[in-house]
Symmetry: D2
């Protein structure tokens, strides 16, 4: 009988059914050395988000077969988030340097078989575990430096979450500024921003190392989340700069028009992926 790790459903089994195990590398005798824990993963975050529009044709070139531009081609969003995460047993929460990370991502509106979804062409986080976990999901997370304003409730060094409050986000990659966003909130609503309220459609793919392999075919998947929770949504005017010197393809998603900005708290539990095509 194959040896298993700490979680029956998610355990990697060594070739031939013995040897070190784990949900991910590094494999080890008990499976406890794995860098990643298996899902579900819980997330609680603070979000600063700017709606904007890109060239619809540029957006289309980032959509894999199966995804269509949908009803509002060119709709996009730039999303900064400060996260805490934990596994099912919530053990990581006692180690704040481990359970926290910052994230920036771009979302493009799209449809799968007529259903509204979002495609994430680029994402950066500032910790290795969420970066690698992104690739498990097909989410193209890289490592960057992310900063985002924190609302304050006392003192003068920051804005309250109240009309006139201003909240900024900034992304640097390899020592260069890549994105700056700013939202000045004016009113609060219960309506989540459109692109933050649809499923994400990712592409599962990983480089194949052996020439004899050829590798598994890319697969389109939708993330399966539960326990979605929004705070009140603070909305207002926004600004967004996407600097052009990172790389040519990234530059094609620069804003043609900037819409509203949103500041809110968001929670979800991420369970796994559902194949959209095979």
């Amino acid at each position: 009988m194959p040896r298993t790790g700490t979680d029956g459903q998610h355990t990697v089994v060594g070739p031939g059914g013995a040897g070190p195990v784990g949900y991910s590398l590094p494999l080890s005798p008990t499976g406890r050395s794995a860098m990643l824990t298996p899902p579900p993963w819980h997330f609680s975050g603070e979000v600063v988000m700017v709606d904007y529009r890109v060239d619809p044709e540029a957006a289309r070139r980032f959509l894999p077969p199966g995804l269509e531009p949908g009803a509002d081609p060119g709709a996009a969003a730039a999303v900064f988030a400060t996260w805490q995460w934990c596994s099912q047993d919530r053990a990581e929460l006692t180690d704040p340097g481990h359970c926290q990370f910052g994230e920036f991502l771009i979302l493009l509106s799209c449809e799968f078989e007529g259903r509204p979804m979002a495609r994430c062409p680029y994402a950066w986080v500032d910790q290795a575990v969420p970066m690698m976990r992104g690739w498990v999901q097909g989410m193209p997370k890289q490592l960057g430096v992310v900063h985002q304003s924190r609302p304050v409730t006392v003192g003068r060094a920051g804005s309250r979450l109240a009309p006139g409050g201003r909240f900024d986000g900034a992304l640097s990659v390899r020592g260069r500024r890549v994105v700056e966003a700013s939202v000045t909130v004016e009113r609060s609503t219960d309506r989540p921003p459109a692109l933050h309220d649809v499923p994400l459609a990712h592409t599962l793919v990983f480089p194949e190392w052996t020439s004899s392999g050829g590798g598994p075919r890319p697969r389109l998947v939708a993330s399966q989340v539960s326990d979605v929770e929004f705070s009140r949504i603070w909305t207002g005017s926004a600004d967004l700069k996407i600097f052009q010197d990172l790389e040519e393809d990234f530059g094609t998603l620069a804003p043609l028009e900037i819409g509203e900005g949103h500041v809110f708290s968001y929670g979800e539990t991420l369970h796994g992926g559902r194949l959209l095509s095979d």
Copy 2:
């Protein structure tokens, strides 16, 4: 007439009354290159704090002449804080990577001429500007890696600020864990923790570079703050570990007894220092 920088009161003037200027190094033609802005500086922070007791004799050895152990010798606190700061014009707030920092410090109870004060023998921050600004005040800030739990309002990845909520802090210095603290809050009050509600007494001193100098004498100063603002104080049980392998003197301030922990928001404006002795 001497050239001055952007702030008449605080400008450094070059020798002989000309040349580059600035509140601090680097001096430059307009003074705008200075690493530090002049006070006042505003601060808004989230605090996780643990009361504890050290060997009173160990604490006494950290008090300079003029400061006495006071009514409760051996009373100490370990304080984690996540700050935003800004200068008088609040310009830094639009750059979240610049206006935020994490801090850990130790406070020892003491008295100056019968008045309760606190002495900070050790402090670490994770940004260069607040480190250098600490030395301007006589506060012995060094660079470390500081992490602290963030209360959440949605989702499962963190604790609410409510009975049973747990909040952790961790400090690493040069790749080694130095402090871990944990507070499980049980009730809220309006009473600020004792050691966070008294003036800090620092020693102004800076190494003298020229042998002919000898340098200015160390001077005991109290920080001058205004606009102090506390949120409700969440209080409960606490844990605190101070690891012994950083350095011998630091190790003498390890906890003999651990008291309550506190979680709260705090704001203040820091204006300058008042000489306690000369």
Copy 3:
């Protein structure tokens, strides 16, 4: 005909043969956004390495089916290296923040079908690109903080590569010290250290995201390298500390006995992986 990226052999093709492409995520219209370039990758490094012995039974528990303990069970090495790397066109070399990284890894002696090889149960690097590239190879690289002495040729702040020269390495993971090594060199030879002169046998495996999947079976591979180049090998006495508080499985590989240490420069080109089993 499917669209391809910049490299015919290594391009990922979108599902159905269209859409964004790339050797790795992120996929983009031209493939230029991919975080990873395809092999071959060139490496030039400075190595500080300590031979040591672990409990042979502990080592055996890290070997997957197909690998045997071999002629010298319990032989191990702790390897610090400061690398530069580049792709075939050497473009990364003009960006020193991109082409440099530090690494620490543990090697265990083993055999595949009677042929001496090395198994790497744990590795840490300080950059995201080599971490992710490790997982492409089946090498369990995580992110850590790695420091290593640099030999000097002038001045007093360091050792020459000469008898009596001392060279240290240190690894910290998540704010805790995990490994410290020290080598004092005594003589130079042309004989490469045994565990640095055999192929590495890794396990290709990646977490499966969809429940319908099950995922590809783990596969045992050997790295294919060419253009191996060693400098003179400086050898001498060594010290090695593996701290026990990282994680239980890691702790089973602590040294029972410490052998010689080696300091040398090493170059290789990495081309891909060859399946050892399927």
Copy 4:
């Protein structure tokens, strides 16, 4: 009799001659907690340096009274260096994460009473100890991210120190690229680059915290070094970009003309400062 720390000459004495001591903050019972050790400090470094010319009038505005533009007004240099340092007892060398740092600085040619010197208007390092030690000397070091090519002796991932070898440096400050330099070496000589072979003239000044103070007057000092050692100097063509978006005064020192570049190793011992004026 006053208590003293570990070094009689450099010890800070508490006000009134008792209490905690140290060469610098933090003061502690034995003086061992001090962030800085007293000089002499030894340095061994690898340098990538580009000669260039700035607007002579812009350079003049950075010179304090007492320093004159000298024989070659507008001569400047951009210097990247990878350092190891240690105190007199060389204890720091066993901790490679502590004794290493990267540095970028700008040098302007000048004269004091007819003697050629260099003025450093801007400098960045990537560690806190050398930053603070810079301010002790009057050298305006701030914290930045510095990267620099490493010459290689084996493998293809880097250049040899030989004709045609290319060596790059890059500085980022607060997430923005500020300087990029590149040197392609062509020949080696024994003649040190002019601006790296003259004394540095700094201004000792530190912000005054108490309104009653006024603070010590700025003082012009020359660094006192011994045991200067150069390797062969590799010289060739160079490129240099100084980006304009850091800050206005810094931008005035952008290159009007780019000269030769140099790659070499350099060692020195720094003892203290000699007053040039008082």
